[in-house]
Structure formats: C-alpha cells, structure tokens
C-alpha cells in the first residue's frame, strides 16, 4: 500500500484545488499516468502518478482545496492484495431520483459528487455542474492577481535564500543564423525551427560538462539532475509567467524539441500542463526574443540553481582579427547559485555555450 500525495508543483505552490479524478478505485495505473486534475494559481495541472499500482481508495473529493502533501489516495503496490483492507464503504450516495436519472443519462458517477443538498444529498444542479466542461480557469483578473502573488512569493524566496552571481557573454550568432535560414529554407512553415530551440539545446549540451549548474538545492545540499530538463519561461498573455520543462533535452533532435516546445507553449497558454512538466525543471532558460531587450539577468527559480538568459539577436559591432564588423550577436547571461558553483566555473560554462552555438550543425 502506498499513499499518493498532492505533489508540490514548483516553489510557488502551497495548495491546490482538486478539480477531478481521472481514475476510480480498482483501476490499474502506470507510472506517469494522469490520475487527477488540480487547479493551482497558475493553471489547471494534470497530475501524474509516480509509480505503478492499483487505486484502492480516493480520499479527497473534487472541489476540495488541499495543501501540498495531503494524501489524495491510497494505492496497492503491483501484486499486492487488498487482504484485510477494505475501502471505506462509499456510503450510499444520497441523491434525488431526478438527479440519479440525469446522472445516468450524462454518464456522471454520482457516488463521486459532493452534494450541495440537504444532508449532503446530490442534487440535479450538482450533476449538471459535474457534467459541464471544466470551467476555463477562474475569471481572468483573479487568476492574474493570484499568479502575480505566487510569482512574487517564489522570487522573494529566491532573492532571500539564493546567493546569486551573474555573468554575461556576447555570442556571435552568424553561423547559427545562417544554418537556421538554410535549414528552414526547404521546409513547410509548420516545420520551421526557431532560434530558441537551438539555444535551448546548446544550453543542455553545455550543461553536461557543468553538472553543478543543473539540478536542485534541497535541504541544505545540492542534488545534480540526472538529465537536463530545461524549464522554458513562457509569458502568459496579459501577464505572468510559467516555466514548464522540456524533458531530457540532450537526448532529443532539434525537430523533436521544436514540436515539443510548440506543444508546451500551446498547452501553457491553454492552462493544461502535466505535473512533471511543472515539477521537473533542473534549469531554466529565458529567451526574451527578437522583440526583447539587449540582455536579461534573471532570478533563479528555486530549488533550481541556475538560469540562462538570452537577449535579442541583433546586428552589433564586433571586432575580429582587429577589424570592425557588423555581425549578429546575442548576449547570453548566467544567474547561478553561489552555494553550489562559482564564477570561474560559470564563465567556463558560458564559453562552452558560445562554442556550441558556433557549431549549429552538431546541435
């Protein structure tokens, strides 16, 4: 028997509201399967289970707001028999006959509903509400304010607890731009790559040699990440920011990463992310893009220990062999945690990143 608890979906979450279960007692689940949907201040998150098992008992009802760490359900290990254990009797759902009929017609499991009628009885309105499509987040403005609040809390913590140091490096981008233009020339528009994807892959490759910039600082010590799960800072329209993970970036081709990034941006804006995408990033990349600023020096997202920022790629003066040239360059920045690394290693990382971007064909 094991407990399934509400995971912390990032440093800026302390509670969530269970919106729905996607499993019921008796269901076999696989590691990584979505078992519940939880609403946080930032988005509705599809919460995944982290090991195989069979759902034994659901302990929290949809609609309840619960703190991180609350036991949501108990599950049997693979092969485990329920034995003496019996799930708590579901308690005959008190439900009006009309509601029961409607529930059957709509395919709603009335036993799982929280009744708003007398003595907790499920009413017709409860059934209708349960069958209605998931509310498209709370009213925009409340959501905005809530998101601002959680971002502020996480960033205050980062600034208070993480001794940041910052480094900048100007990186020539002529080769990467030329390579990208050629790669995109023959492609239909749906399959074209963005420069951001080259940058993300280059960061992940460069991190392989500087593991102290990739991972988490928890309980007073650093735990390096086994892979580079790159959190990509995605601006929400109207304000706010989410940085979900592209998983195991080093192992993926640029084409695959581009597809995943497009999907991640789409789902972030639509408010449907998976819990692993929120909880897993081992480093964050923020790219302020070609409409953006010269350079960005970001705030590390705890418990991560580094953040890499890119300003806009633009034609700038560049000196090569004593000659002044106009070349596309970008300013890359590193914000890193002094408890784990220092400026010397950080500088070597940025040099490695610059080198990687000079060989776009190897990304």
């Amino acid at each position: 028997m094991f407990e399934f608890r509400l995971p912390s979906l990032g440093a800026d979450m302390d509670a969530g509201k269970l919106l729905e279960w996607t499993v019921k007692p008796g269901d076999a689940v696989r590691k990584g399967q979505v078992v519940a949907v939880v609403d946080t201040a930032k988005a509705a998150i599809d919460v995944e289970i982290w090991q195989d098992g069979t759902v034994f008992e659901l302990l929290v009802e949809p609609g309840e707001r619960i703190p991180v760490g609350t036991v949501l359900a108990t599950l049997l290990e693979p092969g485990e028999q329920p034995g003496e254990l019996r799930p708590r009797p579901p308690g005959r759902a008190r439900i009006s006959p009309a509601a029961r009929k409607r529930a059957e017609a709509l395919g709603v499991d009335a036993a799982r509903l929280k009744g708003s009628g007398a003595g907790g009885a499920v009413t017709l309105a409860d059934v209708e509400a349960a069958a209605a499509p998931r509310p498209a987040a709370e009213a925009g403005r409340d959501r905005q304010a809530a998101m601002r609040g959680v971002i502020a809390a996480a960033m205050s913590r980062a600034k208070r607890e993480i001794p940041h140091y910052y480094l900048l490096e100007t990186i020539p981008m002529a080769r990467a731009q030329r390579w990208l233009a050629q790669a995109n020339e023959g492609r239909p528009i749906e399959r074209r790559l963005l420069m951001a994807v080259l940058q993300i892959k280059a960061v992940a490759l460069a991190l392989a040699e500087y593991p102290e910039l990739n991972g988490h600082f928890r309980d007073g010590r650093f735990v390096p990440g086994a892979a580079a799960h790159v959190g990509v800072a995605i601006a929400m329209r109207g304000g706010g920011l989410v940085a979900p993970a592209l998983h195991d970036v080093r192992a993926k081709s640029l084409d695959q990463l581009m597809g995943e990034l497009a999907d991640l941006v789409r789902r972030t804006r639509a408010g449907s992310l998976r819990s692993s995408e929120i909880a897993d990033p081992t480093v964050t990349v923020t790219n302020l893009g070609d409409e953006g600023v010269e350079a960005v020096m970001g705030v590390i997202y705890p418990p991560q220990v580094a953040l890499v920022g890119f300003g806009r790629v633009a034609l700038r003066p560049w000196v090569e062999d004593g000659a002044l040239l106009a070349l596309p360059t970008v300013v890359a920045s590193l914000a890193a945690d002094h408890r784990v690394s220092d400026g010397h290693r950080g500088a070597l990382f940025l040099a490695e990143l610059r080198e990687r971007l000079q060989h776009p064909e190897e990304l």
């Binding site: 233009a181 020339e185 749906e190 074209r192 329209r237 497009a262 893009g289 409409e291």
Partner: protein, 85 residues
C-alpha cells in the same frame, strides 16, 4: 473600388487569425503602420503560429526570407495581396 473591398476583407481575415493568438486584441486599437509584433506583443512562437495560420487559411506560402519585410499590418496585407495576385 473592388480592391478596397478586398483589402478590408483581407484585413479582417488577418485580424481574425491574429485574434486566435491574442484573444484580448481590440481591433480598434490596432494601427496599420506600427510594428505589429510590438503592438500585439507577439513572441517568436506566436509570430510563427500567426504566419502558419495565414499560410494555411489564405493558401499563401511565406518563405522565412520574407519575414523581415513583414513589419506592420499594412506590410503584411500588401505582401499577401501581391503573393495572391
């Protein structure tokens, strides 16, 4: 006269596609002569998705090499008219 009508229809179509990416967009607040991406706050992924929408719905191929010419809404509409002609 006919071409003015076509322009208006094309503009409405383009703004309709833009709205799918920026639902909060107010059409009245949109200037034809200011850089579109800055006005509507489109990042590079938004911009790509916008152009993908245009190329699909208007059946116009937009090579990446032409992106640089598409700064304002007026640029874009002029370009689309020319490509469709």
């Amino acid at each position: 006269m006919g071409s003015t009508l076509d322009d208006a229809r094309l503009r409405a179509q383009v703004i309709g596609i833009l709205r799918r990416i920026a639902p909060e967009l107010e059409e009245g607040a949109l200037s034809d002569d200011r850089p579109l991406r800055r006005q509507v706050d489109l990042d590079s992924m938004d911009w790509l998705n916008f152009l993908v929408g245009i190329s699909r719905e208007l059946a116009v191929d937009i090579p990446e090499a032409d992106y640089g010419r598409l700064v304002t809404l007026a640029d874009l509409i002029g370009y689309l008219k020319q490509r469709r002609a």
